[in-house]
Symmetry: C2
Subunit: 190 residues, 2 copies
């Protein structure tokens, strides 16, 4: 069994992803993490907000490693889009459309209501953008084009997740992949 | 002053968009709508869930009318993307990145936790897809291509909103427009 702090962070991540930041209570986290309630404040003296910041950073980094790992193993950008969106679609189906971006819902919740946590979610998206740009540079795109394609990829993934989870259908991920392939080919011609 | 039911629905829409479905309480709605608490159950015997379903349907329809109205006034699909994402960017800046898709956050909140409301949000996205496909057909695309472009547009808008609100930057909307223009031109060539 993982140590108490890790259990708190992991379980909070699952709860935030499913019920959101506002919809998750510290008592629920303590119960599901099999941790004494007081241990949350021991590890996170700032309470729920400090815990959420840690969860956003860690799950953001894990998701970045996962997604960029999948993309980076492809030989070229077009194949990477097919493999990447295909893997995302498979994971959605296997988890009954629950397992998508770990921070999107929290990002929308805090965007206009909690400046400290908004800044943390912004750091995560900025880090994904940099990492994605690096992957596109590795396929031979100039840095400015690579950066644009990285932003395009992340927004396509986020938007496709909103639609796919709502519609319980993988079509938006297939459309996102096709759109990205069109914009990649346009960039290659330019 | 609008009638009580309308005030409840409009104020709920603002609160759900800003604080989410879970994060908004009926007492808060009653107070901000200047409505007696009991009037919510008078108009919505099913309580918060029935009220939310009405809010999602109405704000979904209003947003569909707004967005499709903006797109439909353009002479062609490429111009429509420039105008549409440009207008969205302007509205975001004017509202300090608060006013984006009226149902995205609620859609993510309910996707895995409230099947009745998930179905309502799915109806809204399906209606937007149909309406958008009609607009692309009007610009001369065959129905299957028009449908794909409509899905691509909606997911690009949703994904760009997640990033733009989080980053407090309109760049994702500009990238989304550029990506859509690439995929539209590829469809025109095909």
């Amino acid at each position: 069994m993982a140590d108490t702090k890790t259990r708190i962070v992991v379980k909070s991540g699952e709860l935030f992803r499913r019920h959101g930041y506002v919809g998750t209570g510290l008592k629920q986290i303590a119960a599901e993490a099999a941790a004494p309630f007081g241990s949350i404040y021991h590890f996170f003296p700032g309470g729920k907000q400090e815990l959420a910041a840690e969860v956003i950073r860690r799950s953001g980094q894990m998701y970045e490693d996962l997604v960029m790992g999948v993309l980076g193993r492809a030989d070229n950008a077009v194949d990477a889009m097919r493999v990447g969106f295909g893997a995302a679609a498979q994971l959605l189906v296997e988890t009954e459309y629950a397992d998508a971006c770990p921070i999107a819902m929290v990002a929308l919740e805090v965007a206009s209501t909690n400046e400290a946590l908004r800044a943390v979610t912004a750091e995560v998206f900025a880090s994904w953008t940099d990492a994605g740009a690096g992957v596109f540079v590795g396929w031979g795109f100039p840095p400015d084009v690579a950066r644009r394609l990285s932003v395009a990829f992340i927004l396509a993934l986020e938007g496709a997740f909103v639609l796919a989870r709502t519609l319980r259908d993988t079509e938006p991920l297939e459309v996102a992949a096709a759109t990205m392939i069109d914009t990649i080919r346009a960039a290659e011609r330019a």
